[in-house]
Symmetry: C2
Subunit: 482 residues, 2 copies
């Protein structure tokens, strides 16, 4: 620990209590590595403030002393976004103790949640007042509001509700100089200059520390319907989605699953079965919901929407879940895709997006191009077709040695995939962010205008570079910074 | 014209043609004053590029020569946002020749429109492909896409579709150094760092020049229903809105009209009549729409929703328009409120917002506070209750001399109103922006954290201060800038 770090730790312990300054190496260790074990960092202390004022005080001290801080919630980043640098120069600023839901207003459809509130707890609190927070993802038992905001998280309900950006009605944050930005008032219209809330969403803690968010709540689900559809191509799937969108806003999820990925799930994941009897090159899982027990049931709606598509050959087969349990079974297939892919061998995974209309071609042509360029590799794409966002996985050739392939081939594959994404006008990070993992690729592929703007904004808001150093912004030359 | 200006004008005329460089004083004059005649500016030339590349070249030349530019679309700003400085130091950069709709995709629900496309033309183009661009406002015959984006415009459909921010799926802009930011790809998920599109929306041209936008289209309206409701208070109106929102998403407009404002309309605006036979302290206009000719008609929906509110006394009376013409007549009352208020005498107008839940109290208590503080003045608020945004007008006492009142009293009234807005956690600019008119009040009332961030971002992106100088950002000391 440097003298400057020691001074801050001592001041925090003395002013805010022992819980606010963790220095025991065993307590720190679990939080210095990402959950996938790809990044190993080091931190001499975890500072764990219990209020916005305490965060502001800590950030102010760190700014004065020139000590970097790495904000951390549930530490569930897919891109090393919450892991401190390996040199121990930064301290972790944990928001986990700030886990209060300050207010819940079902009438207004708003909740004000502190940064450390765990997503699953927010779900439960919203349900407790007859509402719902309509964003979910696999890490919901650990991921926190601050991290979800700072990474502009997505998930499986983006089709209807948008990403986190669409669900944030207000923000509170501590800026790099220790000042507090109070933007929690949920103003539907506010044109007082650059929208700082929007700037902080997805900034991965590099422009300040999100301490609380005002979040939109949706009506609770009274009924849902889940369909599993077999069809010939992603093109047919998109055409089906367009037909459905023209007729209803009740569809919240539209997830595409390739036939070979389904086969992997059936092989590797216990207690799964094919929802349809025949074989299909592609499938989609569709979920429709209703906030009312009256009116057309979502299952009936899905049946009504799918019948003509079956009749005119747009789709090959379809089944509607006849119970909640069967709907859950369909979702289990979708949610097991990554695990089944992992069981099948080493793979390079890519969280990418292209314009929705371009996605079917990208899925087919992109996979073919990868397999032509890397003989024996197997490329597959699945996920959020309706968002133009798929998880594009490239499996190593059968029998490849995992360590060798990851060390020598995976990076080349990733660069090839990212080049295709850029050529298609897409994004190399759809929902996971840049973190540490994608900084170099962003530097390689970002447009000069975008990169210059990112650097200028970062330098303006955090001139000393103390906020989550090494993440998101590809700095030209770190040593040259003031 | 300075030598630097002259050099740029000559280069533009030579490279891009005579139409691109307007120097005739008579042609320039109409564009140097805002439409309300409050701000008189001067400009030695209007530069009118015809493509993004031409905009980039002009901005690059201006940056190199240190010449400020004032971007302008339809020049319909309510806050002097498009009027050049009076000293003639800046040239106007008109985007009006960039008026192409580059693409229209009804399937994807997207249009790419250049900055100079007039809102009414965009409406017509969307209708031509069976869709709709769901934002409208009084100046739709002049206002352009670039201005609507740069001011994050609102209007009467924000309740359902959000402000311009919610309708922009992508942006193209020329940044202050002349580089082009191409963010027109409509990626639903894109987490590659700070969202430059979001930063440019509402930036009033102070961070660069918006040259095109990818805009979301909504389903066309097949049927609409319009209701006029009499009720006792804004509190009853908000309670009614909450009930309606819990049952339908078909309501796109919910506008509140005070009884005395209705009386002014009936007195001053020809061919208007009271939709209801009795007198009511407050009214709301509600519009519901349907994209389908099947299913429950919006008028029937409104009747079904209003009947129980009438039965249990939440509202006093209601009528549903029985024809398109009658619906238009209800809207004419709403749309004539400003004109009727003007006819009634000098007034200070305020475009303000507070959290929706706080708006009823603000409307009642705020008006009472103003009338207590300024004896004889009459305060009234009307408009977008469901957005937490009303137009808060304070009329001078009967018989007041207009010139004297505007010169001596209106500013004091405005400061008083703005103080109340800030105390209520609201915004002194809900939908009109800051422009020139509200810069001083933003400087007086903005939080130190917000003001510092605005200044830092402005200085980072536009270090020489050449983009729409004097607008939006309250600079501490212009002379001290590098």
């Amino acid at each position: 620990m440097t003298p400057a770090q020691h001074t801050i730790v001592a001041a925090v312990a003395s002013r805010f209590g022992a819980k606010a300054a963790i220095t025991d190496a065993a307590d720190i260790a679990p939080w210095t590595t990402d959950w996938r074990g790809r990044y190993a960092g080091a931190a001499p202390a975890i500072l764990a403030p219990n209020s916005t004022a305490e965060v502001a005080a800590i950030v102010g001290m760190a700014a004065a002393a020139g000590v970097p801080l790495v904000p951390q919630g549930g530490n569930t980043s897919m891109v090393g976004g919450a892991t401190p640098p390996a040199d121990g120069s930064a301290m972790i600023l944990s928001l986990r103790r700030m886990n209060r839901i300050r207010s819940l207003s079902p009438d207004d459809g708003l909740a004000v949640a502190e940064a450390g509130v765990i997503l699953a707890d927010l779900h439960a609190a919203a349900e407790g007042v007859g509402r719902r927070f309509p964003l979910t993802l696999g890490a919901r038992g650990s991921a926190t509001v601050g991290g979800l905001v700072s990474t502009n998280a997505g998930g499986t309900q983006v089709l209807r509700w948008g990403t986190m950006r669409g669900l944030v009605a207000g923000l509170e944050a501590v800026l790099p100089d220790g000042s507090i930005h109070d933007g929690t008032a949920a103003l539907k219209k506010d044109n007082r200059g650059y929208d700082l809330n929007q700037l902080l969403i997805g900034a991965e803690g590099t422009l300040g520390i999100v301490t609380a968010a005002t979040l939109r709540l949706a009506p609770a689900i009274a009924q849902r319907g889940v369909a599993w559809v077999g069809l010939a191509s992603p093109h047919a799937a998109l055409a089906l989605l367009r037909r459905i969108e023209a007729q209803t806003q009740a569809v919240e999820s539209f997830e595409i699953v390739p036939g070979d990925s389904l086969a992997l799930v059936l092989r590797h994941i216990p207690a799964t079965r094919d929802p349809l009897s025949g074989r299909h090159a592609w499938h989609v899982l569709i979920e429709a919901v209703s906030a009312s027990v009256d009116g057309e049931a979502p299952a009936a709606l899905l049946e009504r929407l799918l019948a003509p598509a079956l009749a005119d050959g747009l789709i090959e087969d379809a089944t509607i879940a006849s119970s909640e349990g069967q709907g859950d079974a369909f979702w289990k297939i979708r949610d097991s895709l990554s695990e089944a892919e992992r069981a099948a061998g080493p793979a390079a995974q890519h969280d990418i997006s292209v314009p929705v209309a371009a996605m079917p071609d990208f899925m087919i042509d992109g996979a073919a191009a990868v397999e032509a360029r890397f003989p024996g590799a197997h490329a597959t794409a699945f996920g959020h077709l309706g968002d133009g966002n798929v998880h594009f996985h490239v499996r190593a050739p059968e029998g490849a040695d995992a360590a060798t392939w990851y060390a020598e081939d995976a990076g080349v594959v990733t660069a090839f995939v990212n080049d295709m994404v850029v050529a298609a006008g897409g994004s190399i990070s759809a929902e996971h962010g840049i973190g540490q993992m994608k900084v170099a690729e962003l530097a390689r592929l970002g447009s000069p205008a975008r990169l210059a703007a990112l650097r200028a904004i970062k330098a303006a808001m955090d001139p000393a570079g103390l906020m989550n150093p090494g993440k998101l912004v590809p700095l030209v030359d770190r040593a040259a910074r003031p």
